[in-house]
């Protein structure tokens, strides 16, 4: 089966699956300096890592980028010009208007035609509805970790592969991450599927659970992001926030100030540069942060 790689949470894997292709969400590891896209001053480490991950085996049959940020939009152009992998740039609108929703829907249509050109099959209503139900069921099983540690939220930009270890690191230091509010985590999980709506008009349901539901630092206005955080931080009795951001990611960086104004919770900033392969740099500050929360 042909593989379509993506990383953005606004790309519905079930849409790709419904076309008979394998959707692979790439969580890239920090890129070495000699990859397809070498380090550049001002370049987001995540966008660079994604480009370089696509260029390394196993090379996908196609790549889908989105316009959620300036750097990814331009990274798509860079990749398309230097790789033989068919590349699709999906326009994800920032605003919440009905026109923006229609544009997102039209972009799914355009993505669908790209997938058909790649060898996929345009799905029937039933095939798409089935794909929606299957993806929904797969997502339903996730639950927050149980335990006694200080409950923390992880908020910010998308995690690099090596930084998934943060969950275990925090646990060893006496905490536990009860809320993953990063793209790829709960923050950007689509809404639950309404089985009736999925049966009647699965495309409209797809747009609803993704575009109408997902808050993100790129949405304008971004109130939904902060309302979601207010709600979830309270619901999970979070005692502190780890704010994870990539250097040069303006969208998430600017949210930090607003988050500080909206919550009384202590916030520890974890910034990620192009050379931060390990968690060692953060160990001391994480330890101190958790100690202060325990006392």
């Amino acid at each position: 089966m042909r593989t379509v790689a993506y990383t953005c949470p606004f790309v519905p894997a079930e849409w790709i699956a419904a076309h008979g292709l394998a959707a692979r969400r790439v969580v890239p590891a920090l890129a070495p300096p000699d990859g397809l896209l070498p380090p550049q001053a001002g370049m987001c480490p995540y966008a660079r890592a994604f480009v370089n991950a696509l260029a390394r085996p196993p090379v996908p049959d196609a790549a889908v980028f989105t316009t959620v940020c300036d750097q990814m939009r331009r990274a798509a152009e860079w990749f398309a010009a230097r790789s033989n992998v068919p590349t699709f740039l999906m326009n994800v609108p920032a605003t919440w208007t009905s026109a923006a929703e229609a544009l997102y829907s039209a972009e799914l249509g355009r993505l669908g035609r790209f997938l058909v050109r790649l060898g996929g099959n345009a799905p029937t209503t039933e095939q798409l509805a089935r794909a929606l139900r299957a993806a929904d069921a797969a997502r339903a099983g996730a639950a927050a970790p149980a335990g006694d540690g200080v409950p923390l939220a992880l908020v910010g930009g998308p995690l690099l592969a090596e930084h998934r270890a943060l969950f275990e690191q925090v646990r060893r230091l006496g905490g536990r991450i009860v809320l993953d509010a990063t793209p790829g985590g709960e923050l950007t999980a689509p809404a639950r599927v309404d089985p009736d709506a999925a049966r009647l008009d699965p495309e409209a349901e797809l747009v609803r659970i993704y575009f109408r539901h997902i808050p993100h630092a790129m949405r304008r206005p971004d109130d939904a992001l902060h309302e979601w955080l207010d709600r979830e931080l309270a619901a999970r009795s979070v005692g502190g926030v780890l704010f994870y951001r990539h250097l040069w990611c303006d969208l998430w960086h600017a949210e930090l100030g607003r988050l500080r104004e909206r919550t009384a919770l202590p916030i520890l900033e974890l910034d990620v540069g192009d050379e931060d392969h390990t968690l060692a740099r953060w160990l001391g500050k994480l330890q101190a942060f958790l100690e202060t929360r325990t006392e």
Partner: protein, 459 residues
């Protein structure tokens, strides 16, 4: 008034001002000696070298009195609209109504330079968590909070979507502080797919009709918001007339560019050209006066070109300049190194092209918005730059990175790559902070090397 053609210091300008006045120079209401602006805090002016013409004096006074004129406009009961990010489209709509004045708060990005950090705007942005990893446009946050640089707009309108993340994030921070913003969206421009209905854009590119239709819908929202704020109907007829008047300004600017970028020796310095080009985006808050200012500059440049005189020695290396520079002084530095500017792409070339007058006005404005170089791929931008380099005969290119700007990480490489490939011209990337004194030696060395290389290629 064009008896002395040279670049002079601020001190020399004030002496010359008295002589020009004694000789009967007529000034606008905002006129006066340039030196008075230093007293108002614009201390960077002491560092610059200026064109010695009355036309240039008028340009500088027009620019440096904008804040005052905006406050006067509000006191006079005009509706003040703060347009943000789109650089050229919303003001055309706003100025179509007689009692509306639109400006770009984005323009605050030059305040840290002009005031040599004296206003503390960047420190205010720092305090809000918007630090130096963002583009200097973060000074806008400080300007809003200080309430001293422009009146609080009755309406704030900001473009979203395919814009630079710095600005979008900063504007969102502003909204988070309690300002209400109308967000309108421009999608990332893409090439039409085979068989997909397409429309022609002012810059010579095409976009899918569906994208143009989307932007038309967004601009209708902008129209309604302006109508509500102004309490007046913004009819198609008014928009048609507004477009015609905006195009007059754009036409004057294109004339000025053509004369200055092609005449030998260089009839007008890069610094004045940079300021003149900025008038295109919101007419420096006074559309009729911007026409007068640009006419004066164009006529001065034409006279000089006809007389074969210039502000720089003949033979200066012809440089194409990409992106606006955060420190105005850098334009002087380029000329001191033996260069002259022959062509620019300052991120708002869509505000220099005419808005089509043979289309329904909202459609025409939508196409103009889609022609924004920031909205399209870097390859399109590079393509357009190559065309202009050809047209103006540039011998070298400076890509001026904007510190912290999200689009500069890859864009400069893409532009430089295409220029190198197609035109085999030397391309230099430089990064200029709002006050470049600390990096001046390095900047001079790099620009000097580019000029030297370009000169060698003449042989």
């Amino acid at each position: 008034m064009s008896d002395v053609v040279r670049q002079i210091t601020l001190g020399e300008w004030d002496e010359r001002y008295e002589r020009l006045r004694a000789a009967g120079m007529k000034e606008a209401g905002y006129g006066g000696p340039l030196g008075r602006h230093v007293v108002g805090g614009n201390t960077r002016l002491r560092r610059l070298r200026y064109d010695s013409s009355a036309a240039a004096l008028r340009l500088w006074n027009f620019l440096l009195t904008e804040e005052r004129r905006l406050f006067e406009a509000r006191r006079a009961g005009k509706t003040i609209v703060g347009a943000m990010k789109d650089l050229g489209t919303v003001p055309v709509m706003a100025y179509a109504l007689p009692d509306v004045v639109a400006f770009y708060p984005d323009g605050a990005w030059w305040l840290p330079c002009v005031m040599e950090h004296g206003a503390g705007l960047l420190a205010r942005a720092d305090a809000l968590g918007v630090d130096e990893s963002f583009c200097p446009v973060r000074a806008m946050l400080g300007a809003f909070l200080s309430e001293g640089h422009f009146p609080e707009p009755a309406l704030l309108i900001c473009s979203a979507g395919a814009v630079c993340d710095d600005f979008s994030a900063i504007a969102q921070r502003l909204e988070g502080l309690g300002r209400s913003i109308l967000w309108w969206e421009v999608p990332a421009r893409r090439a039409p797919e085979p068989g997909e209905p397409a429309v022609a854009l002012p810059a010579g590119f095409e976009a899918p009709e569906a994208q143009a239709a989307f932007v038309r819908g967004q601009l209708e929202r902008v129209r309604e918001a302006i109508e509500r704020a102004a309490g007046a109907r913004l009819t198609d007829d008014l928009l048609v007339e507004g477009i015609r008047r905006a195009n007059e300004v754009r036409g004057l600017l294109r004339d000025l560019r053509r004369v200055v970028f092609t005449a030998e020796p260089c009839p007008l310095g890069a610094l004045e050209m940079l300021i003149a080009e900025m008038l295109a985006i919101h007419f420096c808050s006074d559309l009729p006066e911007s026409r007068v200012v640009l006419s004066g500059l164009r006529d001065e440049a034409r006279r000089r070109a006809a007389d074969g005189v210039g502000v720089l020695a003949a033979g200066a290396v012809r440089v194409f300049w990409v992106n606006p520079v955060a420190d105005l002084w850098a334009m002087n530095v380029l000329e001191e190194c033996g260069g002259r500017v022959c062509g620019t792409e300052l991120l708002f070339c869509h505000a220099i092209e005419d808005v089509p007058e043979d289309l329904p006005p909202i459609d025409a404005l939508a196409r103009a918005a889609l022609a924004d170089p920031m909205v399209g791929p870097a390859g399109d931008r590079a393509e357009r730059i190559c065309r202009e380099i050809d047209a103006f005969g540039a011998e070298a290119v400076v890509v001026c990175r904007i510190p912290g700007a999200s689009h500069c990480a890859l864009e400069g490489k893409a532009i430089g790559g295409m220029i190198g490939e197609r035109l085999s011209l030397p391309v230099l990337e430089v990064e200029v902070p709002p006050l470049s004194d600390g990096v001046a030696a390095g900047l001079r060395t790099r620009l000097g090397a580019l000029i030297e290389l370009a000169r060698e290629r003449r042989v």
